[in-house]
């Protein structure tokens, strides 16, 4: 397992004390496990008693794969409309201190434009941003994260999740390329691992909209998750992910 590295770098434009934090997934490459990470992070916030507002900005994905499938209260927003990403700020206006948003694949251009138009004023009012990038052995996942960083620059703090979607997982393109090294040198992202998870848990969980937390606590009606093995495995996965989130909690709290 990779060693967790944390070195917080303050965004240059952070001029006021942080009052609100908007956390979003960098939604470039599809199928890398962005929503899975958001689900685990939601479990982490809830297990710590921290209220959050969930936004499902994944308009490309089918209902079954998106955040709202797991959490009915997650508000679905079409970011391609004129007001799209303003929903992030609407939530803050409604009192949320932390907004957790799951972006869909291909949402880059809209997000970049919104950041260019809105970030400066938002930063002055104490809104800070965390961008979660998920890398896998696929070089396209690395390229996607680097493309987002190229546009967002130091207007956000970065958390990179090394998601082992295969076993064993080789993060060669993330760890050994010049472009990725320059990204790490420039922004000092928090880097956390996500271990490979059994398909016997992942697939039915996705199919039925069940989170690791629900499987671990046997809080689901599905008989296949009532047995001890899946529950124990889910507990282990979730515990290790939550330990990782704990280690970089500064990136997730206002």
């Amino acid at each position: 397992m990779s060693k967790i590295k944390t070195e917080i770098i303050e965004p240059e434009s952070r001029t006021a004390q942080a009052i609100h934090r908007v956390i979003f997934t960098m939604g470039g490459k599809g199928g890398v496990g962005k929503t899975g990470i958001v689900l685990a992070l939601t479990d982490w916030f809830r297990s710590n008693g921290i209220p959050i507002t969930l936004l499902d900005l994944d308009t490309e994905n089918k209902a079954r794969g998106s955040l709202q499938h797991y959490f009915a209260e997650a508000r679905k927003v079409d970011i391609r409309t004129h007001e799209g990403l303003d929903a992030l700020i609407d939530s803050i206006d409604d009192g949320a201190e932390i907004v957790l948003a799951d972006m869909g694949a291909g949402s880059g251009q809209v997000t970049y434009q919104w950041f260019d138009a809105m970030h400066e004023d938002l930063a002055e009012t104490g809104v800070v941003f965390t961008a979660i990038g998920v890398v896998t052995p696929d070089p396209a996942s690395v390229e996607s994260v680097l493309s987002w960083a190229n546009r967002l620059q130091d207007r956000v703090q970065y958390v990179i999740v090394e998601n082992s979607i295969t076993q064993p997982a080789d993060f060669h393109y993330w760890k050994n390329t010049e472009q990725a090294q320059r990204f790490r040198d420039a922004f000092h992202p928090a880097i956390i691992p996500a271990e490979h998870r059994s398909a016997k848990i992942e697939n039915p969980a996705r199919q039925h909209g069940v989170t690791l937390g629900q499987i671990a606590g046997k809080k689901t009606d599905l008989p296949e998750f009532h047995r001890t093995i899946p529950s124990a495995r889910a507990q282990g996965y979730l515990r290790r992910l939550c330990d990782s989130f704990d280690s970089v909690k500064e990136f997730f709290l206002p």
């Binding site: 409309t81 206006d93 809105m118 190229n150 620059q153 130091d154 050994n176 320059r182 420039a186 922004f187």
Partner: protein, 129 residues
């Protein structure tokens, strides 16, 4: 510009604002700077000036003027500036006051342009170290 052309240009009427939002330009600008959403601005206008307008209309109003502002930066400079540029390597004395004014402008400290901390070329393949 010669006098005949000057008269023709002067005879052209000013274009009148076509958007019903034009009188509320400053209101929209201020509210946007206060990070109010287009939806909220729409509600604000309805409540306070009884103007019914869709959030998307306000968005379009802002977007068009933002683009216009970008275009203005690419307009031709005024004649004095253009002359000074011509004389830059020649006879600045002949241009008298305007060259002095331009020189003063040149002496002013320029706003610092921040270099991006990171550059990534999407068209280049990842290269191994």
């Amino acid at each position: 510009m010669d006098d005949a052309l000057r008269q023709l240009v002067d005879a052209e009427p000013e274009t009148t604002p076509r958007s019903k939002l034009e009188p509320y330009y400053d209101v929209i600008r201020e509210l946007r700077r206060k990070r109010r959403t287009y939806k909220r601005i729409s509600q604000f206008l309805a409540e306070h000036v009884h103007l019914s307008v869709a959030p998307s209309t306000i968005h379009a109003f802002v977007a068009v003027r933002a683009r216009r502002r970008e275009r203005l930066l690419k307009e031709l400079p005024d004649q004095a500036t253009a002359n000074a540029r011509v004389l830059e390597n020649g006879d600045p004395v002949a241009n008298g006051g305007s060259s002095r004014a331009i020189e003063e402008l040149r002496q002013k400290p320029r706003p610092e342009v921040r270099k991006p901390r990171y550059h990534y070329d999407e068209n280049e393949p990842l290269t191994l170290r």
